[in-house]
Symmetry: C2
Subunit: 527 residues, 2 copies
Amino acid sequence: MKLEGLSILGQGRVTAAGKSYAAINPATGLAIGPDYFWATTADVDAAAQLAAKAFVEFRRWSGQRRAGFINRIAELLEANAAAIVERVTLETGLAAARLQGELARTCFQLRLYGQAAASGLCASARIDHADPNRKPLAKPDLRSMMVPVGPVVVFGASNFPLAFSVAGGDTASAFAAGCPVIVKPHQGHLGTAELVGLLVQQAACECQAPEGIFSLLYGSGREVGIALVKHPLVKSVGFTGSRTGGRALMDAAAARPEPIPVYAEMGSINPVFFLAGVMNQKPEELAAGLHASVTLGVGQFCTNPGLIFVERGNGADVFLQKLETLIAATASGTMLTADLCAAYRSGVEKFSNFSGVKRQAQSKADLGAGNAQAGAALFVTDAETFLSNHHLRDEIFGPSTLVVQCRSRAQMLNAANQLEGQLTATIHGLPEELQANHELVEMLATKVGRLVFNSFPTGVEVAHAMTHGGPYPATSDGRSSSVGTRAVDRFLRPVSYQNFPDTALPAELQESNPLKIDRLVDGKLIL
Amino acid sequence: MKLEGLSILGQGRVTAAGKSYAAINPATGLAIGPDYFWATTADVDAAAQLAAKAFVEFRRWSGQRRAGFINRIAELLEANAAAIVERVTLETGLAAARLQGELARTCFQLRLYGQAAASGLCASARIDHADPNRKPLAKPDLRSMMVPVGPVVVFGASNFPLAFSVAGGDTASAFAAGCPVIVKPHQGHLGTAELVGLLVQQAACECQAPEGIFSLLYGSGREVGIALVKHPLVKSVGFTGSRTGGRALMDAAAARPEPIPVYAEMGSINPVFFLAGVMNQKPEELAAGLHASVTLGVGQFCTNPGLIFVERGNGADVFLQKLETLIAATASGTMLTADLCAAYRSGVEKFSNFSGVKRQAQSKADLGAGNAQAGAALFVTDAETFLSNHHLRDEIFGPSTLVVQCRSRAQMLNAANQLEGQLTATIHGLPEELQANHELVEMLATKVGRLVFNSFPTGVEVAHAMTHGGPYPATSDGRSSSVGTRAVDRFLRPVSYQNFPDTALPAELQESNPLKIDRLVDGKLIL
């Protein structure tokens, strides 16, 4: 596939016009061709109009047919894996092995969400039969199912150039729901976005999807992104990125004449609590596990553990010593972009200058040719300092973590109680310690989307039971998950049919259950 | 029960202070004792603090225990039905028979939502088992369920002083979810609110609920209401009322440092489409049915059919003639408040003055002693006028409707396409006409929460398959329903547990399924 640096508009391309921007290799700082042309306001309108038109047809597609389209995207990604991985490596500095894994995850994700559409899981069909003899009023026949909300704008994430980008989780779940998608790709992987976008375009063509089911517009978040969110034909938004960026989209969406939902996953510091019993049993093993999680992918995961609570004691001392050694010895890594690396360095500087916070260890990294090399960092403080300085709850996106030493379990509980909404919280302990700390577990359950026991938060399983979400400010909407089949539900809404003749009902709601889907019939689940 | 005119704060009452306001009988315009004291900012804070404290315990209650509390409220309502109905009649002008029905509905609703909590339906438990042998990475054990979001503020509706007020649908669904409730009652039924509030307080006491699970604060929406919505410990809002009021709450909630969801049901004009075949078959019967729906409860329902589309022809002429006769002969009725009646009269005046719109019929009503007497009104226009004047899509809350005469099916479709989001749309036709008009059906399905065939939109069944919702501006959040068991879902969010020991899991997620609830296990529903 030849890259042209042009936005994708339905089955066509946008003509080159105006300013253009280069894709940059973060390892070298050098431009990689071609240059990319930013979309205009007219392109935004054209993509939204096309998407709204496509929606009229796409929303009628059966779950089975939506799955066919989604599966075809997965097949095309697999068929072009080598070219894709090569380009992503150049644009992001991520290792080929990691990207092969991410590509496999992306395809698994597409197929799982397709299956959720095909199986009727997401339709969530309900039937309440009529009762003409009910007193005082006859009971009508009432049937409901979930239907797609309309065109969705998806913002690609920097840190998952495949799994949370053009054909990533937000796009897969919107397609599974039956919603057309307009992608605003991240500027950190412009060529990857084009490669994958062309494959989605090809899949749409092969599956005879209505034109406009997919478009991809290059541009800045502030211009093209906000224009898309404000467009009256756009009905929902998926975003993964910074809190500043996410909140800007939330505010723009809420201020529309017709407000629309924004699903923004805005990161988290993912607190980890080490209870004393397990800490005394295997401090070095826990330090090694934590170090691997903190430095995985140069720390560029939303679930990176950036805040660690330990109870003071012998175990914690050994743990800290081991962690210090490991962090100090961590190899330098290329971050996704020079901007992210600059933000990381400035975060590390900020923490270093806080009174009461000690920079316990830092691994060497010169900036490298691309100004994007980062070393790992370890900070240590006590609970009093942590509680008195709310800046210590800020995320440093990268391979850094802060250990908070607590004098008691009560102090740990108190510190936990001050935390904002998080994607995850992790507890390491002996099983009996979990019982003894049920207050901590229950309090954390009110603050997070996912509780992890005796493992680490990085590694987000794509599964039915996954919640990748959590109360604000981890996400814009704590009622949602952006990973797993619940992600599809974000782009659905219920519609009821009252007293409709069977033949005029969608297949999901017809009495004979022709699709053989699970349904809630008169209050009972019928398989 | 003796009414004191005081707000309810947990198990206590707020001391009388500051301004007080009288409850008014809309039939006579006279004050009914006692006077009601508005809550202060300090009361708002106290109620929110108490609710947040209660939440720590209430969220741990089993669904069964929540159901017990909710059922006790229903029992107490039934035991005090006579006193309640007497007071509501005085305050609202609604007939005793209607209110007895509404009380029965309120109790049915409480019990149904309690059952949804007890049966595990709303927990929506999911289990994905571990697979230690999966390559390249072991698969963790992952389990998720829905948990309550936290304290909910409920705004009582004027038009359902029982079913959508203090112990109405929003309160019932928040309690079923496990959320404490703070009610801001509507000023149209202050004494009813106190009576019902005291019963909820009593049920909470009898069921040993944590104090703060329920409070009720009198005051204006702009002051007490907005202060509640802005309070940082409040996590969600339920509202039924005007678009202006709902939007003000949405904007306040979106502008918070931590934005929270608002579920505002803001009304609708509920278009009804009469297809030619059925119209020619039984025009007089259809006119009678429509008239009953338009004038039911003096037209004070969110699902009141305010906009009617007919295809020109003999049937439509007979229909219109009959409707004109019926509207002209409609008895005058007392509206809920003098303010609502004034708004109704001004809406009727506004429509009367539009060019191209004919006031075809209006029934007599002098204002009455309470300035709250309303007659019915019928307006007629053509599709061209309707399409050229967007004010004709405004709701007139009361017993009025506008008939739009269309020259063709295409014109009807075009007019339908211009509609905003609605709670309902209704189609009258022969079954074969429904097939021939599938384009109309499918387009309406994108605009409404509920499609009705050959009946009328008033009468909202409390059922699993009900959607009482719809795209903005019918509601603030088209993904939700404020009636039926889906209403409970509004106050829930998912939480996942990864690799937790079985004994540390909530009962809903334990391997042996001790609660015997339906669960999605490894992608399959298991009963």
